[in-house]
Symmetry: C2
Subunit: 659 residues, 2 copies
């Protein structure tokens, strides 16, 4: 990128002064040189396009490792690039394996009850959740670039899939169709994710801001928890809707179905799970307490229900689960018919959400261990594992936050821990399924509630309120939108608010009046720096935004208002008359044709009032556009400076010279 390699040493001054405040340096003498403003190096349209596209699509420069290598070495690099497993497998050791086996078994103990519970969340048979903890982790361990991601079904995607599909088909009324739709949605989720990765369009998920997600997750967690009241209270007839009001009314109108045995059991295990969670939060070293709690709850409750099997008929149990490995499900994918649109929509929404979670989780743990995950590669990996999953009876999976946290805390070193987990799930699928016959549904509800309650991050919401009111508004909109309207609409509103915020910032940019900080060449906001002083006969304005069609008229009016106010001020204080307006363009990072017209117009209007318009420090791309539009010719003579200081000095001198 044309990096210049000659360096100077003149900032290493010889003797540090005793105080920090005043330091003698070899900084330039007071003579002032006037620097011309350069155009950026000339490039053809094609070169510019290429550079711009590579910045948009390849900001990480994925091929930087391929330079200066021979062909066989390149082949290995390509393999490593496509399958990160080739990168770490050659260095794999027994020591790493020991860590991985411990963490793999730990997440398996979490994965089994989670798989069963989350499948129920998506209104799917529990066995689908176990299937989904077997194939996808294996695929991910081949393709994924994160070392700590624990792969499996997650609560948000399960919830959204359940809610979106149940709006038109319920599992109880047509289980085959529901399954077909779930697998088809998973296919489209995977297709969407891998194409985002392939087309390097990671930018799409960037538009789900953290504020939006905080609100969304809290809303979803509340909905899910309320939904779990079905299991927790032992209600048999429950609404399939996902909004707050029908769910609550379902809870209270079916009061005669409440079962006290279920309630006692449920709240006991919920209290146990929340206590273990609290312990692990307080002492991160005791992470295994909460990691082991779900499996412990499942075992304890199963044993309990088994022992009381003759007395407690009010407690609903899982019942028979089929033994055996994932059956193929390619014949279940539907690509026509009236429900295709629903499957595609569900696929895209769950795809975006699970991708966001997976990548955010991957980045978080990579950040903690100081390595990088490649966003686009992750999208490919997650997408491909979902495509593989939909052909082997799995539903949407991604990197799960809870599973990855446990994985990380248990000392996972590589993606082998995912393979260990998948093996443990394999053993369960082949031999242990009958053991879950007596597992009560209520304990699954308790596990789900204790998991999603952690998603309500009220502290983050409070911080949003403190730091950025508009972010908080987006957060609240997605929260209430999800709670009272629907998941996609709530998300849509929140994203629109975030985009609106950007557009508002662009269409009503700040303009500041600058003054000189005495004894320096620094010009800064008069409003913010009390020591900054106005320079007589000058009005120095900083525009804090690109100049676009969306703000060019506003800026023109605002600048003319500054001039008017300045002239009124001068009149009332009888100061020396205004002669020159300096626009500091440092923060004007782009300009379009409307913006150029505005500058031309402004210059014309000011000239009629015998005021000079001067631009300082336009950015490279702005300079280029000014040049191409020929407006530069009129600014070239005494109209364009590199810094405000140079402009003020040179112009006031030229006034002295020719008064």
């Amino acid at each position: 990128m044309g990096l210049n390699s000659n360096r100077v040493d003149h900032f290493d001054s010889q003797s540090p002064s005793p105080t920090v405040i005043k330091i003698e340096t070899e900084i330039p003498p007071p003579s002032m040189e006037i620097h011309t403003v350069h155009l950026p190096p000339e490039q053809t349209t094609l070169q510019k396009l290429k550079q711009r596209l590579s910045e948009i699509f390849f900001p990480d420069n994925p091929l930087h490792g391929f330079k200066n290598h021979t062909s066989p070495a390149k082949l290995i690099l390509v393999l490593q690039f496509l399958f990160p497993i080739f990168e770490w497998a050659p260095h794999y050791s027994l020591k790493l394996f020991r860590s991985d086996i411990i963490s793999g078994l730990t997440i398996a103990s979490l994965a089994i009850p989670q798989g069963i519970s989350y499948a129920k969340l998506a209104n799917l048979p529990p066995i689908i959740g176990l299937y989904s903890s077997f194939v996808p982790p294996l695929i991910y361990s081949l393709l994924g670039s994160s070392r700590h991601l624990g792969v499996g079904p997650v609560s948000i995607a399960s919830l959204v899939m359940g809610s979106m599909l149940s709006e038109s088909v319920t599992f109880t009324s047509d289980p085959i169709l529901y399954l077909k739709l779930a697998f088809t949605a998973t296919f489209f989720a995977g297709l969407f994710q891998s194409s985002l990765g392939f087309l390097r369009l990671g930018v799409v998920i960037d538009f789900l801001s953290k504020a939006t997600l905080v609100g969304f997750m809290a809303g979803a967690a509340i909905i899910v928890s309320l939904q779990q009241l079905k299991g927790l209270l032992g209600i048999a007839h429950f609404t399939s809707k996902m909004q707050m009001i029908p769910v609550l009314s379902s809870v209270f109108t079916q009061r005669d179905e409440w079962s006290w045995q279920t309630i006692v059991l449920g709240f006991a295990f919920l209290a146990f799970l929340l206590t273990t969670r609290h312990i692990s939060l307080k002492k991160p070293k005791l992470f295994w307490v909460s990691a082991a709690a779900p499996l412990t709850s499942v075992i304890l409750s199963t044993v309990l229900v088994f022992l009381l099997r003759d007395k407690a008929h009010g407690i609903a149990i899982i019942g028979n689960l089929p033994k055996g490995l994932n059956p193929p499900s390619t014949n279940m994918l539907i690509f026509s018919g009236p429900h295709l649109a629903l499957a595609i929509k569900t696929g895209i929404v769950t795809g975006i959400l699970s991708l966001t979670e997976g990548i955010a989780v991957g980045r978080t743990f990579a950040g903690l261990k100081n390595y990088q995950v490649d966003g686009n590669k992750e999208m490919m990996a997650i997408g491909l594992m979902n495509i593989a999953g939909c052909c082997s009876s799995c539903y949407v999976t991604t990197g799960s936050f809870s599973r990855s946290a446990v994985n990380y805390n248990a000392g996972a070193q590589t993606a082998v821990s995912n393979i260990i987990m998948a093996s443990a799930v394999l053993v369960t699928l082949l031999f242990l399924m009958p053991l879950f016959y007596y597992t009560p549904n209520v304990v699954l509800a308790a596990i789900i509630i204790s998991a999603v309650i952690g998603l309500i991050d009220y502290q983050a919401a409070y911080k949003l309120w403190k730091v950025d009111k508009l972010d908080f508004l987006a957060c609240m909109c997605s929260f209430f939108g999800v709670l009272f309207i629907s998941v996609p609409l709530g998300l849509g509103i929140a994203v629109s608010i975030s985009v609106f915020k950007i557009l508002l910032h662009v269409s009503r940019p700040n303009t500041l009046v600058l003054g000189n900080i005495p004894g320096t060449q620094i010009f800064h906001s008069l409003n913010r720096y009390r020591e900054a002083l106005r320079v007589p006969s000058f009005l120095i304005l900083a525009v804090e935004s690109p100049i676009y069609f969306a703000n060019s008229t506003y800026l023109q009016e605002r600048i003319l208002r500054w001039v008017r106010e300045e002239e009124e001020h001068i009149k009332s204080n009888k100061e020396s008359p205004l002669k020159c307006i300096i626009l500091d363009m440092t923060a004007v990072t782009a300009i379009d044709t409307s913006g150029i017209d505005t500058l031309r117009e402004l210059r014309k209007i000011l000239e009629k009032r015998s005021l000079q318009l001067v631009l300082t420090n336009p950015a490279g791309s702005v300079m280029e556009k000014l040049h191409q539009s020929n407006i530069l010719d009129s600014f070239r003579q005494k109209g364009l400076y590199l810094t405000v200081a140079e402009a003020v000095t040179d112009i006031s001198l030229s006034w002295k010279a020719s008064p």
Copy 2:
């Protein structure tokens, strides 16, 4: 706004040096003071909200004239504020009246044929066009703040109204319903425009960029011209659709209806009109040649057809027009029924388009005469004149570009010229209507074509291509969208592209590596300024965009990539190792919570690699957010500087002091 009134004179240096290049000034001595970065003055949330809202909605500070006045004086000011006529009426003189009467009569001669033609363009009876040149100009002269705007129906709004309404109702099949819809649409256009003005939401029309409009007008002009082939060729049965393909097929499938007399007459007058237009363009002093041409054509052609009335039966004529003033039409407004949605949609689209034209035209001529028009007041005036219009048998009107140009050239001084024009139209309506009996439709078609052909601004399109490729794309999209799909969709696509461009700029911002220009404290792009040199052990990056959720992950990855590349470069050249990353935040005009998290994350990651992260010159609002989020505490010590130069000096000194 806390403007500081103490001023310094130290930029007026004592003796100008002989050369311009090196100038001795009283610029600070080489000793360097380290300045602390200030927070902006403290404000409560309410104050900030108030200031922000006033910047968004009242950028022009409309009440600035009301300060320091007694109550009666204030009353007059309020009256003047609401009715600009009170501002100029007291100073009105006979001399001004003489100018206004000449320009008023000139635009009347244009307004009568234009009114008739444009009404035909909207598929309305010709008389509606004349009505629309009577009431609205009178209302505007009371409320409008422009002195040169010529008010009346315009081609674009007429065309759009005609095309949108004709999609579901044609005038020939149900004239009363069509009229009702037209008046109702006018009502909603007026309501929409005045509410935009009242709510001070002028920002909405800012999103129609010039690029979009260039494409839109060219597309519309082509469609209109093709539509006029109906009149020009004398075809009786013609499609009511507005897309290019059905119109062209209509022209060629109805070849047996072509009438040679009509064609000869039409092309003769078209040639005449285009010639006069060409003359006026070449010599602006001869503006009256083209201004008088339409009326001349109408008179000449009417006389000709009257003389040949027994021989030329193939030439369609206007026929009987009712005499008399605008009849009231409040009973024609419909606020229920299946067509209401169409009327509202048409009203909003024509309202936006006519507002854009009206305000752009008003601003253009105000700029030429160096006075200001108030955008929000103009919206109110245009909106109210349309509401008044829809109650008196008028359809959508606005400030017309052609009429205003003629008005300006004819020497109009105040809005009185609009009153003169309205009076001339009044006389026509009362007494001269029978004279138009023999006016041939073909001459109206010729007038329309010669008018809209001027809207095709291929030079502007070429300039867009040269300066900004994405603007050109938006232009082309609206051009082809209008030509082949439909007017609202074409406009919608173009606006989306413009918004997408903003979002793209925000989500993939530029980052630059800065270097020091030797002998100065200026740091500038290494890529652009060949003389700039790197500072060893430092990597100085400028981020050229606000840091938002939409770009925070990108920026984090991009900055880490710069660090990686720099470290590789240093390794291969065996230079002194990288120790400090300086982020120049000058162009970071805003930050949100995701951005703050990114900075925190980045600092953590770099610290793990024993690299220091330093911020320089954060803007006021950014400082505030950093402060509120408590991230500032970790930057306060040696992590925050006012300028890059101060950061480099101070940090390299501190390294010397404690190696």
